[in-house]
């Protein structure tokens, strides 16, 4: 399945299928942004210096 999602993305690019390409990448980007956000929140929980001094 890993391959299939990538394959769809590749084919979407080759076929100039804007909806599909943008859709896949928006989904992937959302996950990565969410993960980074999670990392920041976890860091604030783990390290009082982040919480108290700001970043």
């Amino acid at each position: 399945m890993l391959g299939e999602l990538g394959q769809e993305l590749l084919l979407a690019f080759l076929d100039a299928d804007q909806n599909t390409a943008a859709g896949i990448l928006v989904c992937v980007t959302t996950v990565i942004i969410a993960a980074n956000f999670l990392a920041d929140v976890l860091m604030a929980v783990l390290d009082p210096r982040v919480r108290l001094k700001g970043r």
Binding site: L2, G3, G6, N19, V28
Partner: protein
Amino acid sequence: MASNAATNEAFWRFLLGRLLIAALTLLAVSFMIYGLIELMPGDYAERELFRKYSGTGVTITQTEIDQVRAQLGLDRPFLVRYGEWLWHVMTRFDFGPAFRVETSVNALIGDKFLYTFVLVLGAMVFSYLIAIPVGIWVATRKSGWADGVVTLISYLGLALPNFAIALVLLMLNAFVFNLDVTGLVSQEFRGQPFSLAKFLDFLGHAYIPLLVLGWSTTAFQLQTMRGLMKDEMGKLYVTAAQARGLSGWPMLIKYPARHAVMPIVSTIGFDFSPLTNCPLSPRFWC
């Protein structure tokens, strides 16, 4: 308490700022993809007709192209199409029609995205579950075999290409254990709509990609954790905690491990990069 209120306010401001940045990033990503494809010569209408008639000797006329274009709405200006797409995404969570397969993008991505996400997430959780405790343990060993064995396994994971590991595992499963290895879901679920049974079946098949994805990540995290842990063990607050009478695993977890785990936690975001990289790798297990 006053300081609590201040902390809360700072937290909400932080959250709001992050959401704003996230929204802007997503907007930029989608606009760039739309724009880049727009800049490429030709559009989908031309490609569809080319595919349809290539090799048949039929001459494609401009009217035909225009007809398909009008049919798909591609005759409208770029900004109108992008705006409409964006509006539908934001209001209805609808990514619009996927031209090539004549379904919606939502249906096309749907469970494929879910599987990918679960695999990457699974590999990540798997690698943390192994790397962190083993890293702590190895760092507290004086020397010798434990370190050697763990380092050897780590370097194997880092050095062997993922596809090689995947092939070996597939072979083992197919020829030694006689298992069905041709897909992430069993034959009877292929092409079926998403269901809980299908998802459970997928989890049963997922361990090969999990292992392949997870091995090198685990090896990397483990070596990082081990190094950080060794570093932290020499810190004065560890000696001070021991001088208070704290020892063993409670001491290790409360002080050096919590310090050592922070650089790993702060890079959780990077662990999802396989999501962007791996989808483009060849389909070995699909």
